[in-house]
């Protein structure tokens, strides 16, 4: 096992990884920007190295600084968390070449799956359905032709990344050219390269993803699915496991499909295979080659610590269980609490004055904020993940409702009231909502 791990991240996920390391008796090195000197990941790591100014580009994305920090502290491995350098194949390569273990899959796998067009090809090669679509589009005309062929609506996507950047839904031939140009220019500014492709657009799918774990000895298991359909502009806001509308049979099919893709690329570490699900048909969308924000809901129903598993796998340990040993128990939901206006979703950094954290049975809070903490304006607005577990979905929901009521964060706006509203919606409570759920909610709010 590693003696010392550097965590190349900040906020709650840095703290999450530090906790896992401590519980594995591994020493930890935090890195931080000048804006994060008072943050908990700095306080609770064994060592902390300032790596740059507040801007991420020169700190948390600064590869030489981070590698150098690992070198001067003799860290044997780097955990990248999510975001920042987590899916940067180049960074994984540099770690390797410097003799530092990158805690994640190989650079080669990151690169393959990072290109969404290539990932689709690999999925099909593995025998997993994808939506009808294109390869990298050479021109608007080529795109228009393919769109015509598969039928509108279609969605144009960036080959280089996800998160909704560079995406455009196109409903008619007439609007194709504009959408193409807009998507491409957004893609260039977000990912530094112009590759875009298109896919059939499903009107009312569920976003369902399967958590997998693979070790470096070829063992692979899946840990069931998560339903991440509550999205605003392709950003997940609420996730749960299992998905309320997925049967055991469908769960097995999804799991099998995810494992096929993982096996095809020789995946090791924790990873997520994302699918769109419509009327019991599911289609491979992409694979995320990192730990995800929403990993806790899977941990709550499997009681398997995914971050510890990542670390053990990176240290060369084999998985200690087989697929048949994975036992899903109860139901878990996560709300991402952001420092944002709960109506306009405009970010709201600032100082936390009053503070009360929910607690008790079946409630988990992953956060790096504390009373009087000043949320810096430089980074992501997510300030806490509130996770509940119940024997069934109804209990998990009841726990979330009372926990949201108990969660007091004064001094800044947060999305707690937004979540409270969602947890009153019949559609949400029934569980059969799709990725269009929030859109509908906002439209109905406007019409009131």
């Amino acid at each position: 096992m590693f003696r010392k791990v550097l965590i190349a991240n900040r906020g709650e996920i840095a703290l999450r990884i530090i906790r896992a390391c401590k519980e594995l008796n591994i020493r930890t090195v935090a890195v931080y920007s000048k804006a994060d000197a008072n943050s908990l990941h700095v306080r609770f790591a064994d060592e902390a190295i300032c790596i740059g100014p507040p801007e991420s580009a020169n700190s948390y994305l600064n590869v030489p600084s981070i590698i150098s920090a690992a070198e001067i502290t003799d860290a044997e491995a780097i955990h990248p968390g999510y975001g920042f350098l987590a899916e940067n194949a180049h960074f994984a390569e540099i770690c390797e070449s410097c003799g530092i273990k990158f805690i994640g899959p190989s650079a080669e796998v990151i690169r393959q799956m990072g290109n969404k067009v290539q990932a689709r090809v690999r999925a099909r090669q593995a025998g997993v359905s994808t939506l009808q679509g294109s390869g990298c589009l050479e021109s608007p005309d080529e795109g228009r032709e393919i769109a015509h062929e598969i039928g509108y609506p279609v969605v144009i996507k960036a080959a280089g990344g996800g998160g909704g950047r560079g995406m455009r839904v196109v409903h008619t031939n007439a609007s194709f050219l504009n959408a193409f140009m807009a998507a491409q220019s957004e893609t260039i500014s977000a990912f530094g390269q112009p590759d875009i492709y298109l896919e059939k657009y499903l009107e009312e799918p569920k976003h369902v993803e399967v958590q997998i774990l693979g070790d470096e000895h070829g063992n692979l298991v899946h840990l069931g699915e998560r339903d991440c359909s509550v999205q605003r502009r392709y950003q997940k806001l609420i996730e749960e496991a299992p998905c309320a509308t997925v049967s055991d049979k469908l769960r097995n099919q999804l799991g099998e499909a995810a494992l096929k893709v993982a096996k095809k690329v020789g995946y090791s570490s924790a990873g997520t295979v994302e699918f769109l699900l419509e009327k019991n048909h599911f289609y491979f969308m992409e694979m995320n080659t990192r730990i995800q924000v929403e990993h806790p809901v899977t941990e709550m129903i499997t009681r398997i610590d995914l971050v510890k598993e990542q670390i053990k796998i990176a240290a060369g340990k084999p998985l200690t269980y087989k697929q048949k040993d994975i036992n899903l128990q109860g139901h878990s939901i996560e709300c991402r609490i952001c420092a944002e206006d709960p109506n306009s979703f405009i970010p709201c950094p600032g100082q936390i004055t009053g503070y009360n954290v929910p607690g008790g049975f079946g409630v988990r809070v992953d956060t790096a904020i504390y009373p009087n903490y000043i949320i810096p304006p430089h980074y992501d607005s997510m300030v806490a993940k509130l996770i509940t577990w119940g024997v069934d979905r109804q209990e998990a929901i009841a726990k979330m409702q009372r926990s949201l009521d108990e969660f007091v964060i004064q001094g800044i706006n947060t999305t707690i009231p937004f979540h409270q509203r969602v947890f009153l919606q019949a559609e949400f409570l029934q569980g059969n909502f799709t990725t269009r759920f929030l859109e509908g909610l906002q439209n109905s709010a406007k019409n009131e």
């Binding site: 000197a37 790591a45 790596i51 030489p64 150098s68 004055t353």
Partner: protein, 152 residues
């Protein structure tokens, strides 16, 4: 008059730092007076009370020797994370010693990061007053390396 409208007025008062507000309409007259502010936020730094935000358990975050800026000393800080070296190779003499007069742009030391030797140059001409680190010590971003007394 419902409380929603009142809340909106109070928000307006806070946002604009109003202490009192009085509105007289044909059908309605309202007068509001705020108590002392509770929140802090964007007050100038000197105004913020020394709240007991979680203090660092030890000096591991920002363990810099904070150097007093008396005598207009110029603090040379590390622009990158790495290992600090006083000389180009172990068998060579140090670039500078305390008391050395340096020209602007003259190499003061090296910080090694990812096998690259980054020469740190004097930002101003002057005299080296003190060097804070020993040879081969690790340095963080922005950590003070040495002080110069600029040539006037």
């Amino acid at each position: 008059m419902d409380t929603k409208h009142l809340k909106r007025l109070i928000k307006l008062m806070r946002e604009n730092n109003l202490q009192e507000l009085e509105i007289e309409e044909p059908e309605l007259k309202v007068r509001l007076k705020l108590g002392l502010p509770a929140e802090v936020f964007s007050l100038p730094p000197g105004v913020i009370p020394p709240v007991s935000a979680l203090p660092h358990e030890d000096a591991k975050a920002l363990p810099h020797v904070e150097v007093p800026s008396e005598e207009n000393l110029f603090i040379v800080r590390a622009p990158i994370v790495g290992t600090f070296y006083r000389s180009p190779t172990p068998d060579k003499p140090s670039f500078v010693e305390e008391g050395t007069e340096v020209k602007k742009g003259q190499t003061l030391c090296i910080i090694e990061a990812m096998k690259l030797m980054n020469e740190i140059e004097a930002p101003v001409a002057g005299e080296v007053v003190s060097v804070f680190l020993s040879n081969a010590e690790p340095v963080e971003f922005d950590e003070p390396l040495m002080t110069l007394k600029p040539k006037s």
